[in-house]
Symmetry: C2
Subunit: 426 residues, 2 copies
């Protein structure tokens, strides 16, 4: 044979062997369960999208430097989707007249980013996206934050494990307007604040000073102390009042680990009002886990109709890190319940018994090679299949089988029709 091919996957993406796949499915099942509990239904789309979908809100440069974008032979520019929100906005705008609102949709797409792989940042990851469309009031924001919070709880996290930081883009806007900062300067300022925690305190101050001049200290003071912010804008400021109501409404549904954080910006430009971020409070892993917010204008890209929307995205890699840090991942066990192995006989008795158990709803694997029983038990243990039944001449004649639990090492002797009961008892 010619030169051998490397067995590695493409750089920055993952192979999901059954154990890793089991964990992914555990995450996806938990996500689906909570989303559906709140009335959300699943949708999907291809990872291939027309590149123009991202250009309007992202600009040419980002498209070519941070996404996989290529030209197909029909001269179409195609992008492997880097986020799901433009896709869901496209789909909602495309059938707005046929859809019933409020629309509650979720999806768990894979997303692609062209970047140097590092912890928590891969070239492909999965992201739960939960969005509600057609609701202008705070009930939608409360619901989305509840889904986000309950999803973490679904995996065993407690309120002490994370904080929910909230802010409103409109409060930031009011603060800027208080200092007569132009829209363009506001945009630059929001990006500076967004990166606040990643730069030295002095550098941050310097950057703000270029825009705020002599007001820099008052401005930073307002960002850092809620009291100062409220003094500046006044208690009756409608966006501050809105945020106070939101916090009350969250308390009413039992969500109390909320922190008003005026420096919270969130990266995407399409947010229009409330934004939130879930923050890991574990001292070893203090960082933003995921977030979301309200984006009322995104469907304007496609038509003059506006559809108000609130949503969040939760990545699988970050979630895995969080659950690992907090020791919340379950042990691997195969979906397969029992291995039937032939012992010095041909395979027909094993296959017959396997079909009988399958008809009764049991997941059954078989081992009919001429290997020894010891080897077959070892392989079954390695496959993480909990039960083992050897089928030899004795068993076929007596119709009595020894069901071996490989975890407890217990063995139970039963007749054929009792096997299912033993397996179900576990």
């Amino acid at each position: 044979m010619s030169k051998k091919i490397d067995t590695s996957s493409y750089k920055g993406v993952r192979d999901f062997y059954p154990k890793e796949m089991h964990i992914e499915k555990y995450l996806f099942d938990g996500m689906r369960k909570v989303a559906e509990r709140y009335g959300y239904v699943e949708y999907g789309a291809s990872p291939l999208e027309p590149a123009e979908l991202y250009k309007a809100k992202s600009g040419e440069e980002i498209i070519h430097e941070q996404t996989y974008t290529f030209t197909d032979r029909g001269d179409r520019e195609v992008t492997l989707r880097p986020e799901m929100t433009p896709t869901v906005a496209r789909m909602v705008a495309g059938r707005k007249r046929d859809l019933a609102f409020p629309l509650r949709w979720y999806s768990i797409p894979n997303l692609f980013r062209y970047e140097n792989p590092q912890r928590g940042r891969l070239r492909e990851h999965f992201q739960l996206n939960v969005d509600i469309f057609g609701v202008t009031g705070l009930d939608a924001d409360v619901e989305i934050i509840s889904v986000a919070s309950d999803t973490l709880k679904q995996f065993g996290a407690t309120t002490a494990d994370y904080s929910i930081l909230i802010n409103s883009r409109k409060i930031f806007q009011d603060l800027c307007e208080h200092f007569n900062i132009s829209t363009e300067q506001q945009y630059i300022l929001s990006k500076i604040i967004d990166k606040k925690n990643k730069v030295e305190k002095d550098l941050f101050r310097e950057a703000v000073e270029k825009i705020l001049l002599s007001n820099t200290d008052i401005f930073i003071g307002a960002l850092e102390r809620t009291k100062n912010l409220i003094e500046l804008l006044g208690e009756k400021n409608p966006h501050i009042q809105n945020l106070v109501v939101l916090i009350e409404k969250l308390e009413n549904v039992g969500i109390t680990n909320v922190v008003f954080t005026p420096t919270l910006m969130r990266g995407f430009d399409y947010y229009t009002d409330i934004v939130f971020e879930i923050f890991d409070t574990n001292p070893d892993n203090r960082r933003s886990l995921f977030g979301g917010g309200r984006y009322d204008n995104l469907t304007e890209l496609f038509s003059d109709d506006k559809v108000p929307a609130v949503g969040f995205g939760m990545g699988d890699v970050t979630l895995l890190d969080f659950l690992t840090t907090h020791n919340l991942l379950p042990e691997y066990q195969s979906e397969v319940t029992v291995m039937l192995a032939s012992v010095k006989t041909d395979s027909s008795a094993v296959i017959h018994l396997a079909q009988t158990l399958r008809s009764a709803g049991v997941n059954v694997a078989t081992e009919t090679s001429d290997k020894g029983v010891g080897d077959k038990i070892k392989a079954t243990l390695k496959l993480a299949i909990p039960f083992f039944i050897a089928v030899g001449e004795n068993e076929t004649t007596s119709k009595q089988y020894k069901v071996k639990n490989l975890i407890t090492e217990q063995e139970t002797s039963v007749s054929e029709h009792e096997i299912v009961d033993v397996l179900k008892r576990g």
Copy 2:
């Protein structure tokens, strides 16, 4: 705002709105159920693969004309996987020493082909892949064909709805060797026979004649009549005997709709022995649905270790066509059980009741806008949510609720703690 963006998806791929997604999930759930019943566990991988993975068995031309292949900024050639078998062979070869055999793996990846979209041929589709590794005997072939057959039955198909065509690449090889045809010519001949049903009878004969010369009629006769084939190769030909045993073993597990078809080739070059194809017998849809076979040499691409393997791939688009033709698709119903709607009150009572029902395991959506009850019922019907409960001052005071079944139009008056029972009774 600037020019509006088109809401269409990229050419040749599908958007899955909740109704279409529901059907996809129905297909995937059924596939998973049968595969796991037979002891298979799920794996996964990224659609991004190094292009070299496909070159060895497919050649440069196919890579560039029939796949999405592009060069990344690290100068790596990347392909969006057109099939899953090279990926699974790569993964098995990569961890051969750590894995326990027999290995039963399945996956439902999306696959990409660069072709002009037409009925049943899209640029992206999903495909169930089921493979068993490490078993040389016919039990593996029987099992894989059983899984394929049971998957169709899982969706309501009966034995009369499809035939299972089988053949062995080795019988074809024996037949060719009987006529002293070289390996290269055998390859060309296999491609001619593979396309037999797509060309005129005369053209087919002409193509065969170029290789078989004066033996053409005997050769075609052997392909068309099993009796002639057996006369030529002899009853004791080991590969014919093997096929006879396979047919017996299939009968033993209740699979009788099997047809030995010496012209069956299957497109992929990696098959080494038994190949099979499921064929729709409905007169309106007479065509190949999917297939598979044994490929014992594919891991040789990666290392000198050979791992015997049998598997099949079943595409979602073809399966959907089949189930539609045979009228086997279920009606859409939302995963959400009940809509709680406020009537001239604020949202708090609705949200409180929703949380109570959710804690009891019910999937609940809410509608707390100031629209009228009629509009809210209409939207609920459109969302295919079966139950509706209006929550107004009466209900909040009396704690009695009317649970409306929107399908049967029945209404049941109950207290709060009885709601769950009514919903579960359906």
